[in-house]
């Protein structure tokens, strides 16, 4: 098969812009999803039945419904009640709410892996529950769950391609424009390589950490 990359002469800028939109949407959504995930994880292990219910409902609802429906909600749904967000914002929020549910599960597993004595020791030293959580438990929990969080970030980068469906000028959208006039196969192969440039190093990093930590036991 002959590859024909002549589309780059015309569309080079689109691909560069797309690449950086994909990266920046993913990073913004990463930060937001970590915040949502941490809050939901703490809710899910709280002693209050109501808070626990809220956390569980959030996690189960968002991870069992398609991300595209969530993105459509922020895009078409909010527009139908006269709230118009930018496509970048729609993408970041949609990705963050969806990924937040998976982050919450990973972080919860981390919190539960911290020995119970840590919380008791922190509380008996006079810290409040929230202080103990923030200063003692969460830093240890996060360290343990970096690999699963990394995997979720890889999924997030891949899922950011959903922006293309709402014409969000991301990497995949650049491809969708270029295939109108150029060789379809070459365009998609090129874009696939650009995605791999982001995801393969991340996945090697995650693998490395997983192996190193499992050796330490």
């Amino acid at each position: 098969m002959e590859m024909d990359f002549s589309f780059l002469e015309v569309h080079k800028e689109d691909f560069i812009d797309g690449f950086f939109t994909t990266l920046s949407v993913s990073l913004v959504a990463l930060v937001l999803s970590l915040i949502i995930g941490t809050i939901m994880a703490v809710l899910r292990i709280s002693h209050s039945k109501i808070l626990r219910g809220i956390g569980t409902a959030y996690v189960e609802f968002f991870r069992n419904t398609p991300i595209i429906i969530q993105v459509f909600f922020f895009y078409f749904g909010l527009a139908s009640i006269q709230i118009n967000l930018s496509k970048f914002m729609v993408g970041s929020l949609g990705l963050a709410f969806y990924t937040g549910a998976f982050m919450a599960e990973a972080i919860r597993a981390g919190i539960q892996a911290v020995p119970k004595g840590q919380m008791e020791a922190a509380r008996s030293s006079g810290l409040t529950y929230i202080q103990a959580m923030w200063y003692v438990i969460l830093p240890q929990a996060f360290k343990m769950v970096i690999p699963p969080l990394g995997n979720q970030f890889i999924n997030l980068v891949k899922n950011s391609s959903i922006l293309a469906i709402i014409a969000g000028t991301d990497l995949l959208y650049a491809a969708d424009i270029a295939i109108a006039n150029y060789d379809v196969t070459s365009v998609y192969v090129f874009v696939a390589l650009l995605y791999l440039v982001i995801t393969i190093p991340l996945s090697i990093g995650v693998n490395y950490l997983e192996k190193r930590w499992s050796k330490q036991g």
Partner: protein
């Protein structure tokens, strides 16, 4: 917001035929990716030179790409090559290509979790390598594989909604057609459709948890 549109019986029949397409595509892709994923996973596990390397390259490249890219490729590139197939079939192929790579990883880590001593013991009893794999290793590995496999299939079912981008007449697409023609019905319909996805996926997740508990005992 117009919640009454959700109750309109003509809309229900449109959504129902969308749901049928969703389930048909998901079910076909689940069966196919289970078969191909298992073969790929075993090939990677066996470490046959060349063959297992090809399996590694396939698995690592495909699972680090966005599914939507593969769906677009399956649709537009096949068309460009002159292959005429229905949209539903192109989506089934794309989803199988993608999910097989993820199933392969689940199969491999399941196989790896079985103690190597089991192979040696079986071989010294006169089993061939293939017999050992089939009768001794696989049944034990299966237990480990079921929960992640089910959550992979839940993802697949959710992700069939991405095919809305190429106008596959599935559930999300059916909802889109209705709310595009009806003022103020967007949010109610998106909520209704996410509840449909939720019920199906939540039941699958519960079934997986039940299986996990039974197999652990």
């Amino acid at each position: 917001m117009d919640f009454s549109s959700v109750l309109d019986p003509t809309h229900w029949s449109a959504l129902l035929s969308g749901l049928k397409v969703t389930l048909l595509v998901a079910f076909s892709a689940i069966i196919l990716s289970f078969i191909f994923g298992t073969i790929l996973g075993v090939l990677r596990y066996t470490r046959i030179p060349v063959v297992s390397h090809l399996a590694i390259i396939y698995i690592e490249a495909i699972r680090n790409l966005p599914l939507l890219l593969i769906i677009f490729f399956g649709y537009f590139a096949l068309k460009d090559w002159g292959v005429q197939i229905p949209i539903a079939l192109s989506v089934i192929i794309s989803m199988t290509v993608f999910t097989s790579a993820l199933v392969a990883e689940i199969v491999r880590s399941g196989l790896n979790s079985v103690d190597k001593g089991q192979i040696e013991a079986a071989r010294s009893q006169g089993f061939t390598y293939t017999q050992t794999l089939w009768y001794i290793i696989m049944p034990q590995a299966m237990k480990k594989m079921i929960p992640p496999m089910v959550s992979q299939f839940v993802s697949l079912l959710k992700d069939t909604s991405l095919a809305v981008a190429i106008s596959l007449p599935e559930l999300t697409h059916a909802a889109q057609i209705i709310y595009n023609s009806k003022y103020n019905a967007t949010i109610p319909l998106l909520i209704l459709v996410s509840l449909i996805y939720f019920v199906i996926n939540y039941c699958l997740s519960l079934a997986s948890r039940y299986l996990e508990k039974r197999l652990a005992g």
